[in-house]
């Protein structure tokens, strides 16, 4: 099997699910004839028709709301946010309408809201966001944020089949930089399960999305230069979080660094730290520490963006701190 890119994996997932299930359809801005700002839906309209790959007006709240309505009546809509930054315009619809639908009114609401997220691309404050933390305290939603092309495909397929609404973040830095070989057949990766991206014994890095790759680079460097054995956990799903995987790695290495691209304050690392405290505090040989973005809107100029976002060298330094503690 040939390698395909992350964004091709997304496209394959969409195509396979649309093929398999006529209730799956896509809607979003410029996703039809144009194939989407990042070409994630390229060719799908030609293949599945205009009514299954719908170009919408610039109306994120309507896109998500309409998806919810369709889902109540048996459809499985997949919404694209042209950039995930614009999901903020559907924040009310997602947190109030969609997330509560089943609980408050027994309304089935199996929708997926997906879109390109994340920085390291000189996109500036409105084309680089990582809004996942804003949705973390909304029961009723699931949140997926894959780091590999294999997971991108398998988790998107699982998300489309999931009976609950799923926010699906696709890191645009990975779209064309990361490739993978898709397992044959109906490749599904369950939501809610983390992945050990690298085994290690001395310390654990818990992370997700683009920083998984930076953590792996850092682990490589630490092994080579410091002889440190670093375990890297790729969370993959942020809601629900895989507590078992978190606890397992803490009990194994006793030292934890949580790394993410979102700002340090209010990012998901806080939740992870709290869970570690609750579930396996006694196994900690050092404080849980965070490597994340500085608490500023993400600036555009390369030196600024590089300064604000966590870099491999930051993970290396923080790991050394933990190891030396």
């Amino acid at each position: 099997m040939a390698e395909i890119t992350f964004v091709e994996a997304i496209r394959e997932a969409l195509a396979e699910e649309m093929e398999r299930d006529p209730s799956v359809f896509c809607l979003g801005e410029d996703i039809g004839r144009y194939g989407g700002a990042f070409k994630a839906t390229d060719g799908l309209q030609a293949r599945f028709g205009e009514h299954r790959v719908i170009d919408t007006p610039v109306s994120e709240a309507a896109i998500v709301g309409a998806a919810a309505g369709a889902a109540h009546y048996g459809m499985r809509p997949v919404c694209e946010m042209q950039f995930i930054d614009f999901v903020s315009c559907a924040y009310d619809m997602l947190t109030n309408y969609v997330a509560t639908a089943r609980y408050r009114a027994m309304l089935p609401c199996p929708i997926v809201v997906r879109g390109p997220s994340g920085g390291y691309v000189r996109g500036g404050p409105f084309h680089s966001q990582n809004p996942e933390a804003a949705f973390l305290h909304t029961p009723g939603l699931k949140i997926a944020y894959p780091a590999t092309a294999e997971d991108a495909k398998g988790m998107l397929k699982a998300a489309i089949r999931d009976d609950d609404p799923v926010l699906f973040f696709e890191h645009k830095y990975l779209y064309r930089r990361i490739k993978g070989t898709m397992p044959a057949g109906d490749h599904l990766v369950p939501l809610g399960k983390a992945r050990v991206a690298r085994e290690g014994a001395d310390l654990s890095i818990i992370t997700y999305a683009a920083t998984v790759w930076k953590a792996l680079d850092a682990a490589e460097e630490l092994e080579r230069d410091d002889g440190l054995s670093v375990e890297v956990i790729d969370l993959r799903s942020l809601l629900p979080l895989d507590d078992d995987a978190i606890v397992a790695t803490v009990k194994k290495t006793n030292r934890v660094l949580v790394v993410h691209e979102d700002t340090v304050t209010g990012g998901i690392a806080g939740e992870i730290t709290a869970r570690i405290n609750e579930l396996c505090f006694e196994w900690l040989d050092a404080p849980v520490r965070r490597v994340a973005a500085h608490d500023v809107p993400l600036p555009y100029a390369p030196p600024l963006e590089d300064f604000v976002l966590p870099q491999t060298s930051d993970i290396v330094r923080a790991s050394r701190w933990l190891a030396a503690y």
């Binding site: 007006p57 109306s59 309409a66 309505g69 109540h72 619809m93 408050r104 309304l107």
Partner: protein, 366 residues
């Protein structure tokens, strides 16, 4: 606010049978009687939370919902109790819901008439956030168009809700997609305390229709037959593939926003005038007994039957069980079907003993 102008004379009973004319009367009467019962229960503090009345607006709800088939979908708001009844909601459901009973349609999760049934009777449980139901109904009706189903959707908004971004995005989306959807603006003169002329500078809310490229009709919302006729025409238009319509029904909110509201902001006499001269049930009664030559006793018989129905439902509702706390954890997701109870609900000392620690971790003494 002036008495609304009627865009045309009331149509003759638009294909309705005499039995249907009485049915319309019964739905309006049931709406009013049930709301009056809720007021009584509210005063007895048996209704938990706010109580929202549609007094004087019953014709809007009933006449419009009556234009739908059972397979069609309705999206009601807090003042559309009448629509929900027409669409098959039972008084007992309403009562249990308002009283937060364990066997209420939402098992105590939501309040007042915030509930739905998309499986059988086809009305959608609303949320409080105004305007949000418009995109949702755009999606419901988009589905019908995509699947080639002969079904229509109707969504209500108040004059206030027309100011929301969600209303705008939803109707525009549906119009472009030619969704079989009817948007009914129930212009009752106020959004909470805000009169319609502080809500919009538009002369008429129906003037928004052209901006979405859809037909717009303004009608007398207190004439149940006119409401039925204009809605029916819009529903037929949608069913025939014509897409979205916007209807503005002119009515008046005679009670406060909710029961607690003193209506201090209403100009003196305004409510009284509407009550005296433009009550939808009074007007319809006069027509039924006049123009349509029903015997008044036929109507009083309906009134009595309705009262008996509401009495009986009240008794059952009052005897309904309360909600059970731990049930709160069920049904957020299909998977997992239930959320765990938090760790501190139980015996603290036992929990400390049970708390897992690594082998060799001694009892800590601070």
């Amino acid at each position: 606010m002036a008495v609304p102008t009627t865009s045309s004379l009331p149509a003759p009973p638009a294909g309705l049978s005499r039995a249907q004319l009485l049915e319309l009367y019964r739905w309006m009467r049931l709406t009013r009687t049930l709301e009056e019962r809720l007021v009584a229960l509210y005063r007895q503090t048996k209704v938990i939370g706010g109580l929202f009345r549609s007094l004087g607006q019953e014709a809007c709800s009933v006449g419009s919902a009556y234009a739908l088939e059972r397979r069609d979908v309705l999206s009601p708001l807090i003042r559309n109790l009448g629509s929900m009844l027409v669409k098959g909601a039972e008084p007992i459901e309403i009562l249990r819901q308002y009283m937060a009973k364990g066997d209420s349609p939402t098992r105590g999760r939501e309040l007042n008439i915030h509930f739905g049934d998309v499986v059988d009777r086809n009305f959608v449980g609303q949320i409080s956030h105004l305007g949000d139901m418009v995109p949702v109904m755009a999606g419901v009706t988009l589905t019908f168009r995509m699947r080639g189903e002969d079904r229509v959707g109707l969504v209500y908004v108040g004059d206030g809700a027309t100011s929301t971004g969600a209303f705008h995005e939803g109707i525009n989306f549906a119009a472009v997609q030619r969704c079989p959807m009817v948007v009914v603006v129930e212009n009752n003169g106020y959004a909470y305390s805000t009169p319609t002329n502080r809500q919009t500078a538009a002369a008429r809310l129906v003037d928004k229709a052209a901006g979405y490229g859809v037909p717009g009709v303004r009608a007398d919302g207190n004439d149940v037959l006119e409401v039925y006729a204009v809605t029916r025409a819009a529903v037929d238009h949608a069913r025939a593939g014509g897409g979205v319509s916007l209807l503005e029904l002119m009515t008046y909110r005679r009670k406060g926003h909710a029961e607690h509201d003193s209506q201090s902001y209403v100009p003196p006499g305004e409510i009284e005038t509407w009550a005296a001269t433009n009550d939808p049930i009074d007007r319809y009664t006069a027509r039924l007994t006049g123009e349509f030559a029903f015997d008044p006793s036929e109507l009083t018989a309906i009134d009595a039957e309705v009262r008996a129905t509401v009495d009986a439902a009240t008794d059952v509702a009052e005897a309904s069980p309360p909600c059970d706390g731990p049930d709160a954890l069920r049904g957020v997701y299909v998977d997992p079907a239930s959320m765990p109870t938090l760790w501190y609900r139980g015996d603290a000392t036992a929990a400390v003993v049970a708390h897992e620690r690594p082998a060799g971790w001694g009892t800590h003494d601070g």
